[in-house]
Symmetry: C2
Subunit: 343 residues, 2 copies
């Protein structure tokens, strides 16, 4: 806390937030009353997601306030992206150990920068005293019947993923400065910073999600790790999946920073990627590649939906070519690494 | 934690919540995907409120899980009530120190009992690891232009409040077992239990709020204490208020449990009442009294809106009759008790 300035009241903090919160034409009444009043466009359904980040659990305690703000909104927008929803409004509940106006301003810098990028208005919430914790609810719109769901994967679908995988997990190791042999993070300072940025400043794939609506069958955002999240799709859809390890997208920074074993672990099991995983019929491949170009986000075809009930990973190239056998098995919300099979 | 049962995973806990969450016809997709998909009825605006309760800050750490669940939803429904909104859906973000299925079941008992009473469907959220903290977002509907706001009080309006004031503040003293001379809680065991119930199980005035729409000018829920909340109305509306101390509603239990000085402090400054405060033209008195009968909630006329910018409390009967002078002054979010004037 800065020297002698008196601690602001809760109402001071809310006033600070209110002055900076952006507006939208469909906000009838924003911050400053008991609740917000909002207009949902005719012919649209409402899409609502809510996620909390706790200090020391979801982000390292020393993360910059602007990065915490960015990420708290990003993880929620990522959920809207996975539903193919167009973001509109958010509410924010902020628990703070003390009332530090400078910290709050930094937090809002990150939070509101991402909100502005996606034209999201902050319309309400509260500030309370407690351990640092950020809870956000986001609201968006979707055309009836166009929301992307987890339970619609079809046998024969391709499995796709956006961006690159495992960067955030490596970024976390940069922060924690793990130095055991397998987990050591190499690469240049610039590469390590890029990995940490992938952890702190994920890019929710909102535009991509909108484009995929009507083109793909099932979608999910990759927040718990690729295997765990694809497993959710398998469970909800009543299908199994085969995934080709050598087809998983990898960033140059991740390749430079860690060895193959750690890289594979991060790609399959590392959380916080906030990419989109989805399944689509093979006939949609060309169309999906056009979405990659239009959205500016790379898309990788990484496997196939089949009968069964879980995700099986094979050490092979795209379309299952090559010699490698089954190397990892994902089970209901639990990632099992077979010690004998890891490279 | 019970003896040897393995700790459930986050997905187990979510499954437990999902199995018990109620439904509604307007829920297209509830718990179990990246986000909920919902239908807002045509011709209605969406009303959204969000409030967090932290252990040790908003409720005593040893509060029964069912009471925590009830209250976490109640304080949010109270915000909808103050807007005259009809509740529809909620999302829940639960931070828990451990994954205790028995605790969660108790919590859901209270949360879902109140949800069922108001036909609210739990449609999403998350569970995370952290200090015990409950964040809830509620959604409701209101006819365009009918939402009750803080900024619409008119000079000449009566000031009204529902129910009785100060009970929850006394209930908190029961829990804390404060035994300084002025704060000691007397009364029978039944009265003390009733006061604690007012703290733990507030009744959001939803039906009353719906009835008041179109009949009153401004409304707010009394959560921070009467003076602080009426002060919010004064600030938002650009008016002042005179409040008659002897007109403030008091419960028999509060009268029996504390002396006059503590009673007055609790009525004016005690938080957690979750009653509705509102202003209405004198011509609406009969109509408002009919709302009291129809909703089963007592309503008290406690003062008048005038020019000025703050709440002034006079030690007088209803309509300002009697001899008593100004006894308390409320200022912007801060309750000032004049030591010389307190009875």
């Amino acid at each position: 806390m800065p020297g002698t300035a008196p601690e602001p009241t809760e109402f001071d903090l809310i006033g600070r937030i209110r002055r900076r919160a952006g507006g939208r034409d469909d906000v009838v009444l924003g911050i400053g009353d008991d609740a917000a009043v909002l207009r949902v466009p005719p012919g649209r359904q409402l899409v609502v997601a809510m996620d909390t980040l706790n200090a020391g659990v979801h982000f390292p305690a020393d993360t910059a306030p602007a990065d915490i703000g960015w990420k708290a909104l990003a993880v929620n927008l990522s959920d809207l992206a996975a539903m193919a929803a167009e973001p509109a409004w958010c509410t924010l509940s902020l628990s703070l150990p003390g009332r530090d106006a400078a910290w709050l301003d930094g937090f809002l810098d990150g939070f509101l920068a991402l909100a502005a990028e996606h034209r999201v208005a902050l319309v309400g919430g509260d500030t309370t005293r407690g351990l640092l914790s950020v809870c956000v609810t986001v609201h968006g719109f979707v055309e009836p019947g166009r929301a992307l769901r987890r339970d619609a994967a079809q046998v024969g679908d391709d499995v796709w993923v956006s961006g690159t995988l495992g960067d955030a997990a490596a970024g976390l190791r940069v922060v924690l400065a793990t130095d055991d042999a397998d987990g050591a993070i190499g690469g240049t300072a610039g590469e390590r910073r890029w990995l940490r940025d992938r952890l702190d400043r994920p890019s929710p794939r909102v535009a991509l999600g909108r484009m995929l609506a009507g083109r793909v069958n099932a979608a999910i955002d990759i927040s718990d790790g690729l295997l765990a999240d694809l497993d959710h799709v398998c469970e909800a859809s009543g299908v199994g999946m085969q995934v080709w390890m050598r087809a998983l997208p990898v960033s140059p920074a991740l390749s430079a920073a860690v060895g193959e074993k750690a890289r594979r672990q991060f790609q399959l099991g590392g959380g916080d990627d906030y990419e989109l995983g989805f399944t689509a019929p093979p006939g949609a491949r060309l169309d999906i590649e056009r979405c990659a170009v239009a959205s500016g986000v790379s898309l990788s075809r990484i496997g196939q939906v089949g009968v069964g009930e879980r995700v099986r990973v094979f050490d092979r190239d795209i379309d299952g070519a090559g010699e490698g056998g089954e190397c990892h098995v994902g089970r209901r919300g639990y990632v099992h690494f077979d010690p004998g099979a890891s490279a």
